[in-house]
């Protein structure tokens, strides 16, 4: 047994952390929040130059052909640095193509996504209260896509979208070039002010089906793992901020970190973070090996990571006191991002239900 990331992934993580610490961080998040541009264009060019969007793209399509370990550490570091670039959105779309794309679709899109010429996004929400497993209203008929996806995170940056559409077997996918006729886009005000959201309308826009309904389910499992790592990174960065503050700030003649009400909450952040990391690693393994446990491992990674991120973001703000509630302070980035990560792929409650469904099946198989 060897339950650890590969050495290559660890090396990549270190490099990515160093790079993003120098290039991204809350400062660049704030700059994007205050700017018109939907993402940090200069940073994105550098990220593309690092080759990260191409991580999972097979070499035959111009990528690096790396494994899930590497994809996961990239997600973690992007989550950690809050880097305002559409890397994860692009990686999501790449996974969709890897799972469900025809050879022609892969050949057409993967090289462009790998090279950063195209920015991808996976869009399923329609502004209502449905989960990613419920039927969307968007329709693909005779190669024409109609419907509205909103709020689509990174949707203002994307040039290519994988969208869910109704099918007889449940939500399925279509792929659409956002430069096509019939596509309209406008900014949407949502909680996360750094990762901006769009409303994307499709009015008989030309689009192609991408795989079938089962592929959508499989995609959401893989993305649940990928974004669990993002959540771990974001929670980790928030916790480090909270720790530093607890060791420095004084009240009643003591460092606040000496008070148990404070330090036990930090211990709880650590505990939730470690549990989430263990599940995220399990998920990474299940994804990478296409194990039969993937449904269960992915759902657990999702649930545990959302829990860790929510708790950490809330309590980090709390233990900063009044300063944490100000516009100028970085706490808000984590606090708002916690909801963005949840909204991006379905809530804790949705995934807890999926987890139990997977467990029921396993229990039945064991009996």
């Amino acid at each position: 047994m060897d339950f650890d990331l590969s050495d290559d992934a660890k090396t990549l993580r270190e490099a990515a952390r160093k790079f993003l610490e120098a290039e991204a961080g809350p400062k660049s998040a704030r700059a994007v929040m205050d700017a018109e541009a939907p993402h940090d264009v200069a940073l994105w060019a550098k990220v593309v130059a690092q080759g990260w969007p191409s991580a999972r793209v097979p070499e035959a399509h111009g990528g690096l052909g790396l494994g899930t370990d590497e994809a996961c550490v990239l997600a973690e570091e992007v989550g950690r640095s809050l880097a305002p670039v559409p890397l994860l959105a692009t990686m999501d779309a790449i996974e969709a193509l890897l799972i469900a794309g025809s050879e022609a679709q892969k050949a057409r899109w993967l090289p462009r996504l790998a090279a950063g010429e195209a920015i991808g996004v996976v869009a399923w929400g329609e502004g209502d209260s449905k989960s990613p497993a419920q039927m969307p209203a968007t329709r693909l008929e005779s190669g024409r896509l109609s419907g509205v996806k909103t709020p689509v995170q990174d949707g203002l940056s994307a040039t290519l979208a994988v969208v869910t559409v109704a099918s007889a077997d449940g939500p399925a996918m279509a792929i659409v070039d956002l430069a096509s006729e019939g596509v309209t886009r406008s900014p949407v005000e949502a909680l996360d002010l750094v990762r901006k959201s769009a409303r994307i309308g499709f009015d008989s826009a030309p689009a192609e089906p991408l795989g079938d309904a089962a592929d959508w389910v499989r995609l959401t499992e893989r993305l649940a793992v990928l974004h669990a790592w993002e959540a771990l990174g974001t929670a980790g960065a928030a916790m480090e901020m909270a720790l530093a503050y607890a060791k420095d700030r004084q009240a009643f003649g003591l460092r606040i970190g000496r008070y148990q009400a404070v330090k036990h909450r930090l211990a709880d952040m650590y505990i939730k973070g470690e549990l989430a990391r263990a599940h995220a690693m399990h998920g990474c393994w299940a994804w990478g090996t296409d194990a039969s446990e993937l449904a269960q491992a992915a759902a657990a990674a999702r649930v545990a990571s959302l829990e860790a991120l929510s708790f950490t973001a809330e309590e980090t703000l709390q233990l900063h006191g009044g300063i944490g509630f100000t516009w100028e302070h970085d706490c808000q980035f984590f606090y708002r991002r916690a909801r963005a990560v949840s909204a991006a792929l379905g809530s804790r409650a949705h995934w807890a239900d999926r987890l139990v469904r997977a467990l029921e099946q396993r229990n039945r198989a064991a009996a």
Partner: protein, 405 residues
């Protein structure tokens, strides 16, 4: 990443499995009715003896002290296989898990030769005489006194919550040998003969109804100086060895304790107005939380083990296992019993609900034994996260002059 055994590990597992099939055949199911204490002790001794003779005792201990000199991974593999059966092992978890490693880390060659083999074979049972009425979490405040009298020490005082003291032959005993030294510097550790004159053991009935732990009184008990573990005044350092092993020993969910699988089955069997309780959102959320906690601990331990096999030391990170597991057991059992309404409150003997009642009672003790939830959170905060310690009286105050803040 790889969850599979290496060929060498797979071979060991196969060997263990074959041995268990041949030797643990009578323990493939839980006992029809619970054993009494005498039967438990007799069966525990017989089982330990078998393991000893087959080379499955002291798996990770150095060969020099009679162990097998194998890796923690071997220990885990044996434990995984053994835990598929219902063999009795609890009698030795404290002795072999904590006391004897302390003996062979700090004892003289003579002590090791005298005590380790008989402990390992199960012939002699050990207990841990640390906690006192005035000192549990704050172990370094113990007051049991040991005074030097030539070649022997004379011990007076009281220990409490001592698991299996009433069935033990020996114990490791932490005493205060200097009341005017600072709290952590006046302690000395000994081996004590539980049958020695002046040792009186009185069982205490636990909230769960059973009597596994005891009060132990020492009245002018003589302990030879040659049975001292470590230097005079070094008892705290020696105790830390024990506590480090305690962290490893009391890690995960107790064997066969109810987990998410049982919660699913119990919920499935309960009819609500519309469907089975398994369809209720709150029940599903509870199952998910239980799974996240229990499996998360297991996976975390696998991570630690992978690090261990690459040469890392077990660290305070391990403290998360018990904090998570004990509270999860408690929450899960309470939720399941409540869900079952009156059937959960007055459960049929031998049913899953009765097991959940036991789990409800035991988990309360588990949250306290081996470091309370609060103490473990302190350890995580201070030793893992580097936060400052609680406010305490100055460390170098002589013990007999400490005033509570």
């Amino acid at each position: 990443m790889d969850f599979n055994d290496t060929p060498e590990q797979a071979a060991y597992r196969a060997q263990v499995r074959a041995w268990l099939e041949a030797n643990a055949a009578e323990y493939l199911a839980p006992p029809e009715k619970p054993w009494g204490l005498d039967e438990f002790v007799a069966r525990s001794k017989a089982w330990q003896r078998k393991k000893y003779e087959a080379g499955y005792a002291g798996i990770t201990w150095p060969k020099a002290v009679g162990g097998q000199g194998l890796t923690p991974m071997h220990q885990i593999i044996f434990g995984q296989e053994e835990s598929r059966t219902y063999v009795p092992t609890g009698l030795y978890s404290i002795g072999l898990g904590m006391c004897i490693p302390t003996v062979f880390t700090h004892g003289t060659p003579e002590l090791i030769a005298r005590f380790v083999p008989k402990a390992l074979s199960g012939e002699e049972v050990w207990c841990q005489l640390f906690s006192e009425p005035v000192a549990g979490s704050d172990l370094a405040s113990i007051r049991t006194r040991a005074e030097c009298d030539g070649e022997a020490w004379v011990v007076n005082g009281q220990k409490v919550w001592t698991s299996f003291a009433h069935r033990s032959d020996f114990g490791i005993l932490v005493t205060r040998t200097d009341f005017s030294a600072p709290k952590h510097r006046g302690l000395t550790m000994f081996i004590v003969d539980m049958k020695a004159p002046g040792v009186e053991v009185r069982p205490i009935r636990q909230m769960s109804g059973a009597s596994d732990f005891n009060e132990v009184f020492f009245t002018d008990v003589r302990v030879p100086d040659s049975w001292r573990l470590g230097a005079v005044g070094d008892g705290w350092k020696v105790a830390l060895t024990t506590l480090m092993h305690e962290r490893l020993a009391v890690g995960g969910k107790p064997r066969h304790a109810p987990g998410w699988q049982m919660l699913i089955e119990v919920a499935r069997g309960i009819e609500t107005d519309s469907a089975s309780a398994l369809e209720r959102a709150d029940v599903r959320q509870r199952i998910a939380s239980t799974y996240i906690a229990d499996e998360g601990v297991k996976l975390t331990q696998m991570r630690a083990l992978s690090a261990l096999s690459r040469g890392a030391m077990p660290g305070p990170e391990q403290s998360i296992a018990k904090v998570v597991v004990a509270k999860t057991m408690q929450d899960m059992a309470a939720a399941a019993l409540d869900l079952a309404e009156s059937a959960g409150f007055a459960a049929e003997k031998g049913s899953d609900l009765e097991k959940l009642q036991q789990s409800y009672l035991w988990s309360a003790g588990l949250r306290i034994a081996g470091g309370t939830d609060e103490i473990l959170r302190n350890i995580i905060a201070e030793r893992v996260l580097g936060l400052p310690g609680d406010l305490r009286p100055p460390k170098d105050t002589p013990f007999n002059e400490i005033e509570p803040l």
